[in-house]
């Protein structure tokens, strides 16, 4: 993140001094524990995040880890609420989005901006769902359905903020999609039989563990689909998805390997190949 932070100009320096004088000394002096290597990372200064004038998260405290080069930027307002030394897990996941592993080329994907047409699409989808579930065309039902759709879309339209991708207009991709569905169903059935046998045996043989599975997918749709399908297929439940690095952490009920590449081959390679063929 530091690369995209603006170099402070003269006015910025004055403003940064003004803000840092208002900060409690413990906040600036207490180092952050580096989440990568555990070393103490001291605060390096204040930087302004460009493009967000006047917003509550305009100013950031920058921490740099001397051991591994990790740079973290915390919004000042958030750092005041949760001093970095005492951040609980839930708050950390929020702030981790701001981390950048220096020396790696991985970038965080751009957040897409929701537009009115996405709102309209969300209303349409909700309304169609309502029509199918009520299967009624009475005027009062339609009116209620529309009202409910508006409310639902109000809270969910940001999730539909991706354009109609190319694969939807290309019939050949539908064939790839069909292959994906078939592969998924095969794995679902195999998986269910093996899991059922596993739990019904008098002596349960389980070797659970959490394993990192690297993927070559980086886009949100692909990672979401793969993460979702991996919850339903061989022996794994998706625990966490690292969007920037394309790594999916899974809880594996029968750990067979701890090598990331081997885990990838055993767990996700088939599905990933189908998803790539479908989205490419």
């Amino acid at each position: 993140m530091s690369g995209s932070l603006a170099e402070p100009g003269a006015d910025d320096k004055a403003q940064a001094r003004h803000i840092s004088r208002g900060l409690p000394p413990t906040l600036v002096k207490s180092p952050l524990t580096c989440p990568l290597c555990g070393a103490a990372a001291p605060a390096r200064g204040l930087r302004r995040r460009p493009g967000q004038p006047g917003s509550r998260v305009e100013w950031h405290i920058v921490y740099a880890c001397p051991a591994c080069g990790l740079i973290a930027a915390f919004a000042v307002e958030r750092a005041l609420e949760h001093p970095p030394g005492s951040l609980p897990g839930a708050a950390w996941t929020q702030e981790l989005r701001l981390f950048q592993w220096t020396g790696q080329t991985a970038r965080l994907p751009q957040e897409r901006v929701a537009r009115p047409k996405h709102f309209a699409a969300a209303v349409l989808i909700s309304f169609l769902t309502w029509l199918i579930l009520t299967s009624s065309l009475a005027p009062l039902d339609l009116l209620w359905g529309f009202a409910v759709s508006l409310v639902v879309a109000r809270f969910s339209y940001r999730l539909s903020a991706f354009g109609l991708p190319g694969w939807m207009r290309d019939p050949r991709r539908w064939i790839s999609f069909g292959r994906l569905v078939i592969e998924f169903n095969r794995q679902l059935i195999v998986q269910n039989i093996s899991l059922s046998l596993r739990v019904l045996q008098p002596q349960m043989r389980i070797r659970p563990g959490i394993v990192a599975v690297p993927t070559r997918l980086r886009d949100d749709v692909g990672l979401t689909v793969l993460g979702g399908l991996m919850s339903l297929t061989p022996d794994t439940v998706t625990l966490e998805i690292d969007r920037a690095r394309g790594v999916i952490y899974v809880h594996w009920i029968d750990v067979q390997t701890t090598s990331p590449e081997q885990a990838r081959r055993l767990i996700s390679a088939d599905l990933e190949q189908q998803i790539t063929a479908w989205l490419k």
């Binding site: 524990t33 580096c34 989440p35 990568l36 290597c37 555990g38 951040l87 897990g89 839930a90 950390w92 996941t93 981790l96 769902t129 199918i132 579930l133 299967s135 679902l188 059935i189 998986q191 269910n192 899991l195 059922s196 596993r198 739990v199 019904l200 349960m204 389980i206 070797r207 659970p208 563990g209 959490i210 394993v211 990192a212 993460g227 979702g228 399908l229 991996m230 919850s231 339903l232 022996d235 439940v237 998706t238 625990l239 966490e240 952490y249 809880h251 009920i253 750990v255 701890t258």
Partner: protein, 117 residues
């Protein structure tokens, strides 16, 4: 006609078997993460089979709106179950619910490390 009725019965029976296996799994497995395997996967296939059977029965009776509705519910189930289990697993992990002591490896903790405390 009667062959279809038998097929529907088989679908129900298989669905019941997988749902039963899911309940057994939830009761027997040692921690929340293992139990999520049972509660997400076995119930998905079990309920899908029952839903398929229900849709065929509604088709036999000729109530087509019901068929569409039942299949749609099945689709929603397929989409929602993995997301729900992922959300539960992630929330449990960040809340610090411990893994079973027999757990072999935790690469997630190894990589995000002290951040979790």
């Amino acid at each position: 006609m009667s062959a279809l009725v038998v097929l529907i019965g088989i679908l129900y029976a298989l669905g019941l078997f997988f749902n039963l296996a899911s309940v057994v799994g939830i009761l027997r497995l040692p921690d929340i993460y293992c139990r999520l395997h049972s509660s997400s996967k076995n119930t998905t296939l079990g309920s899908s089979l029952i839903i398929l059977g229900l849709a065929m029965r509604a088709g036999l009776e000729g109530t087509w709106p019901a068929v569409v509705k039942i299949l749609f519910i099945g689709l929603l189930l397929l989409v929602v179950t993995p997301i729900g289990s992922h959300a539960l697993a992630r929330a449990a992990y960040w809340q610090g619910i411990p893994l079973w002591e027999g757990t072999l490896v935790d690469q997630y903790r190894a990589e995000t490390g002290p951040a979790r405390d």
